[in-house]
Amino acid sequence: MVDLSIQVFGVDFQNPVLLASGTCGYGEEYADIIPVDELGGIVTKAVTPEPRAGNPPTRVSETPGGMINAIGLANVGLARFRREKLPWLRDNLSKARVLVNVAGWSVNDFVKVVAGLDDADGFLGYEVNVSCPNVEGGTMFGTDELSLAQLVRALRAITERPLVVKLTPNVADIGVFADICEENGADGLSTINTFPGMVIDIEARRPVIGNVTGGISGPAIRPMGVFATWKVASRVKLPVIGIGGICNARDAMEYMLAGASLVQIGTAMFVDPYTAPETIKGLHDICERQGVAQLSELVGALEA
């Protein structure tokens, strides 16, 4: 028997496979399709202080090896999330861990969400989205060193729960931003969010996406995600969550060897909701074949 469990943020994850924010709703949407509680965990759609309707259509389209999206952080807002979504997570997930993805446009926005949720049940901690490229100023925290430091400090001051910062790859040196998070009290880092991109309808001579630009995700960005994960994991001591283009166990293993303790699957879930359960099974099979008894031994085991 291979042991897929891994200890991160002081708790046990039954396996390292999570669903990425924005690609699994609030968990409930997948409940009839896959055994959500068998996953390592899920990360919720971003929660902002107020509800958001999101961007005008078209919001998604296919790109080579991936997709573009500009959802515009459409979400039910803090109050309804706490009232309607958290209870489902609390009642239905006993083994899978839940991170709440938090977004905002000012330190105060983030503080409001974290303060408004911290005493509730049904989740483990936060993933702070400082990297959504789809809203005005949305990349501010993720690309500005001082603001990021200030944000992480502010959130650290008001919660003892695991505080994970999700970094954008859209910077010259992601290591610098990883350092800032570590120095200011974050418990972990997620790498990576999407790349800014654009697709043009050459007949209409208009952008395909209503918001003009959007974020690129999927297998196309996997080598970039593995690189960012390796760079960050080699630099800081914090646990890293690897994200970007994971489609199967081999891909997940690339991230773990590069230094990720956990991984998240996003876009590939749209292609096939069984991607996550099959990745878990596949990790088991690879470990068995390679004679690895404890998957966690492979974290950062790359010889480079």
């Binding site: 924005g22 690609t23 699994c24 709703g25 949407e29 997948y30 399709i33 759609k45 309707a53 999101g54 961007n55 005008p56 259509p57 078209t58 919001r59 998604v60 389209s61 296919e62 080579p64 090896g65 991936g66 997709m67 999206n69 959802i71 459409a74 999927g218 297998p219 196309a220 489609c247 199967n248 876009t267 590939a268 879930m269 749209f270 292609v271 096939d272 909701p273 991607t275």
Partner: protein, 251 residues
């Protein structure tokens, strides 16, 4: 099974027992090829369920871009990922005389209508208008009858088959108590305008680009209005739709 039924248009039958047992007219399936085969198409594509025959479902697909090209190239025995049935379906609401208006492959959901148990049991009368640009694009009427039992009134824009003109020219709402429509957005808007003007109930099956098909990506938003509060907002075509009552659409 794959059969060419008109210019660049194919009839596809897939074995999908659970979907076949549940699908209702207007509902769709996501058809794709798996995330590890990240070629073209990468994302699955929504397609209306156009028929149910035992354990099989029928799809009516017109080649448009990479996704539909790949789907219509499926060979017997080859596997695809099919998720469904998804979304809302048409609602009869006790109607007695139903007018269906189809443009192009918007024909698909109506082919499923006659065999649908709620319709069979209520015995409502169904009239189907079906428009295409020209004769070559028209789904073979014999095959149409064979699959659905429907007799379509065909309109072509160039008059090369059936009546000459746009399918909306054939819309006569006299005595009709429900209009169902599916096709290109300009046609849907025109049909909706006629129904609203005549005060006849109308349901529209709409399209938007999709990623997940199940409400998780929030990608397939369409502008809607709450008919009661009048409040504007977005609804999801995949889970709040694809079938919307006319009064819900902010058009």
């Amino acid at each position: 099974m794959r059969e060419r039924v008109a210019e660049e248009t194919y009839w596809l039958e897939l074995t999908a027992p659970e979907i076949a047992a549940q699908a209702a007219p207007g509902q769709f399936v996501m058809v794709g090829f798996g995330a590890s085969a990240w070629g073209i198409p990468f994302l699955p594509r929504p397609n209306s369920v156009a028929a149910v025959r035992g354990e099989h479902i029928g799809l009516l697909i017109r080649v448009y871009g990479a996704g539909s090209r790949r789907l219509t190239a499926l060979k017997p025995g080859e596997e695809a990922l099919v998720l469904g049935p998804l979304g809302t379906h048409f609602e009869l609401n006790g109607a007695r005389r139903i007018l269906c208006v189809a443009g192009g492959v918007g024909l698909a959901p109506f082919l499923l209508l006659p065999a649908w148990p709620p319709l069979v049991s209520c015995g409502a009368e169904v009239r189907l208008l079906y428009g295409e640009r020209q004769a070559a694009a028209v789904f073979d009427p014999g095959k149409l009858r064979e699959i659905s039992g429907l007799e379509a009134e065909i309109w072509t824009e160039d008059g090369s088959l059936g009546s000459h003109g746009r399918v909306t020219d054939g819309v006569d709402l006299n005595g009709v108590d429900l209009v169902l429509t599916c096709g290109p957005t300009p046609m849907l808007k025109a049909v909706r305008a006629l129904a609203v003007e005549a005060g006849v109930a109308c349901q529209l099956a709409v399209e938007e680009h999709m990623a997940c098909g199940v409400g998780t990506c929030i990608g397939c938003a369409i502008e809607t209005v709450d008919p009661e509060t009048g409040e504007a907002g977005y609804s999801l075509v995949c889970s709040d739709g694809p079938v919307f009552p006319a009064e819900r659409l902010r058009w």
